[in-house]
């Protein structure tokens, strides 16, 4: 099969699935709808795998499969081709998206089994996959933007999937509107880049970047990248646009796993990695990205410490981990960002699905205060969740350890980095370890606190298989990027596969020096140690001495309240922006509109009516007269052109 066919199958299989399930959206059979949708996703995954195998066969410098389907827009300089590219970066992403996507489709068959609109659900899920593939594989910004908008739409549809519940519908709208802010900035960034480079193609832009060099704040590349980054903060839930993500947990849990943990929210990171030479050329933007990323990591983690809803904890954890990825991008460690993106997709999808399994078992109960001791009821879920937990708090040799450590090390060591960034990252890691242990403790360990009426039951096999696969990936997924210092002491000295793979695509920060291995070992040791202490503390608090947290919370007083209420950001937005706006509008409406403008307009309207009577003859519904006006316009234009 030709590359073109394969690529078409890869991209359009989910779309076909969407159409099939979309037309039978009223059907109730989860098995049929799920099989169609999962089949589509698996077909996509297999063709992605085949293409990546082809890619590996190519020499390292030419690893790129480009397929151009048709000319989409051709206006003057703007020439947009519906072209798709698999290279080293998109290969990783496409495998993650289709692979994890297929698993989550499979999980959904079990999870959504009793739902009314199951065919609709799977149709949306497939549409999401299709748009995500557009986003990942598009070889220019516009195609990516189509996918970008498409996944936003699907996210909205799926968050508000149970739209009869007003709160959930509102959550969907919140996500959509917040994303629109970012999307507008993304468009602006695209305009700036097009004005600067005259093209929207990633490869061409990345080739053109070395020809320019600029360091000022208002220069086009900095402006463009900043706008793009604002777009990324919207989609990837960073300060200040992260508020939608926790609310997005209103959607079905597999959706949270797929869209709001593993794939869509990483689109911003992916976009930055894709354009890394461009961002590299704008150090000011990089600094901002690193700062925002670090702040988000710390702040979201601190909110996570206080949440009681199992999915909310995971949501804040996601925001925090995304902050890590942006921190990595900001210090120029794009490879590390992509690495963490991948491992995070594994373990966070695992934990979300695990939480889905728990919620399923607890009959839609999400409050962790009403759980506890589930270890013996849900042994398989517990086991897999345990692996996810080990991975996220960074216990070697689980996946999270390698990627998180890489980011921390780069934050410290890179010329664009700073010890402050490292400190932020380490603080985030400590808090992550704490709240994740807290989550484990309250859910699985200790005494059971749920009412006797509930009998938790282990999920069916169809839901457990994806958990097992993801657990294995979370355990070993990090081994493709083992840092040099560790590989030196390992038997056989495995190389850093990821680094060599990405090398032709990822620019290194100029001026990177070789570092002392001892320093790297030291930092690694400190962070792991801190995390371990933090985890142990949490274990102690929530399993051994459950009264302590309350005391600490009481002693912290106001501070705890602030954190518990998520720093009052939502309220802040309401007080600071939305309410004043509403009040201002009301004031303006009463004083200016009613008393002044309306009265003026009455006068004007009389004038208009008078002249309207006069001009009415022109727009009289007589189409021939309209045609005559068109003719007059054409004649005038032609005369002008000819006389010029």
């Amino acid at each position: 099969m030709s590359q073109q066919t394969l690529m078409a199958i890869l991209i359009f299989a989910p779309l076909v699935g969407f159409f099939i399930n979309g037309f039978r959206y009223k059907k109730h059979s989860a098995e049929v709808a799920g099989t169609i949708a999962t089949g589509a996703a698996v077909i996509s995954f297999i063709s992605a795998l085949l293409m990546v195998i082809d890619l590996i066969g190519l020499p390292a410098e030419e690893r790129r499969i480009s397929v151009q389907f048709f000319d989409w827009i051709t206006i003057e300089k703007l020439k947009v081709v519906a072209g798709f590219t698999i290279d080293q970066i998109s290969a990783i992403m496409v495998l993650v998206v289709t692979g994890v996507g297929s698993l989550i489709h499979l999980f959904s068959i079990g999870y959504m089994h009793h739902d009314e609109g199951v065919a609709k659900y799977f149709a949306y899920l497939n549409l999401f996959l299709f748009n995500m593939l557009l986003l990942i594989l598009g070889d220019n910004l516009l195609v990516m933007f189509v996918g970008w908008e498409g996944v936003g739409l699907c996210s909205y549809l799926l968050i508000g999937f149970w739209f009869t519940d007003k709160q959930k519908a509102t959550a969907g709208m919140k996500a959509f509107i917040t994303n629109r802010v970012g999307d507008a900035a993304f468009l602006l960034g695209m305009f700036v880049l097009f004005l600067t480079f005259g093209t929207l193609n990633f490869q061409e832009i990345n080739h053109l970047v070395p020809l320019t060099s600029e360091l000022t704040w208002l220069a086009p590349i900095t402006m463009g990248t900043l706008f793009l980054f604002i777009g990324a903060t919207g989609k990837s839930a960073q300060i200040p646009l992260y508020v939608w993500l926790p609310d997005a947990m209103a959607g079905p849990t597999p959706v949270s796993a797929l869209i709001h943990a593993a794939t869509m929210v990483t689109a911003g990171v992916y976009m930055i990695v894709r354009l890394n030479p461009l961002f590299m050329a704008a150090p000011n933007t990089m600094m901002i990205i690193a700062t925002i990323g670090g702040l988000t990591a710390v702040m979201a983690a601190s909110i996570g410490l206080t949440q009681w809803d199992i999915k909310k904890v995971l949501a804040y954890s996601t925001v925090s981990q995304l902050g890590y990825m942006f921190l990595a991008c900001g210090v120029g460690a794009f490879g590390a960002a992509l690495f963490h993106l991948m491992t995070h997709a594994f373990f966070k999808a695992l934990m979300f699905l695990g939480s889905g399994s728990v919620i399923h078992a607890m009959h839609e109960e999400q409050d962790i205060r009403k759980m506890g001791g589930l270890k013996k009821y849900l042994p398989h879920t517990y086991l897999t969740f345990l692996i996810g937990w080990l991975a996220i708090i960074g216990v070697p040799p689980f996946a999270g350890f390698f990627s998180k450590d890489e980011i921390l090390w780069q934050a410290f060591h890179s010329p664009r980095g700073h010890w402050v960034f490292w400190a932020m990252g380490a603080l985030g890691a400590v808090m992550t370890a704490f709240y994740m242990t807290r989550l484990m403790a309250l859910t699985f360990w200790g005494e059971s606190r749920f009412s006797k009426k509930i009998h938790p039951h282990e999920s069916p096999m169809i839901m457990l298989i994806p958990l097992f696969v993801l657990a294995i990936l979370s355990a070993i997924g990090g081994w493709i990027g083992i840092p040099h210092v560790i590989s030196e002491i390992l038997p056989g000295q495995p190389g850093n596969f990821l680094e060599t793979w990405l090398e032709p695509m990822i620019k290194t920060v100029p001026g990177t020096e070789h570092a002392e291995p001892s320093l790297e070992w030291g930092l690694m040791g400190i962070s792991v140690m801190l995390a371990a202490i933090s985890a142990m503390t949490a274990y102690h608090f929530y399993v051994k001495d459950p009264s302590k947290p309350k005391k600490i919370a009481a002693s912290l007083g106001k501070l705890y309240d602030v954190v518990y209420n998520k720093y009052y950001v939502d309220e802040g937005y309401f007080c600071g922006i939305i309410n004043p706006l509403v009040r201002l509008s009301k004031g303006i409406w009463f004083y200016i509109d009613v008393n002044f403008i309306d009265k003026t307009t009455y006068v004007i309207s009389d004038l208009v009516r008078g002249s309207g009577l006069f001009v009415r003859g022109i727009q009289n519904g007589n189409i021939q007269q309209y045609a005559m006006y068109i003719g007059l316009g054409v004649v005038a234009t032609m005369t002008y052109v000819l006389m010029r």
């Binding site: 727009q619 009289n620 519904g621 007589n622 189409i623 021939q624 045609a627 005559m628 003719g631």
Partner: protein
Amino acid sequence: MQNSELIGEIGLTHYLILSALLFVAGMAGVLLRRNAIVILMSVELMLNAVNLSFVAFSHYLGQMDGQVMVFFVMTIAAAEVSVGLAILVSIFKRYKEINVRFFEHLKG
């Protein structure tokens, strides 16, 4: 029949002027006739004129794109006629006559 020395006599300009005249004829029909069906036919005439110049350009500039455009224009013209005639039939059913002035009732 393709004696190369004689081909120069008929050139692109001939076809363009012919197409322009056909177009103008159609335009006159659109502006001056009262029967809505005849107006629709005049629109078809204009489209045909444009098609002719497309094909002429395609021939004399050696590019196929013009012909593809003609193909598309034909499709869209057919679509336009289908919908246009459907609307006209509805109007005819109501007023028992087809005259453009009945379209004035369509204004808001």
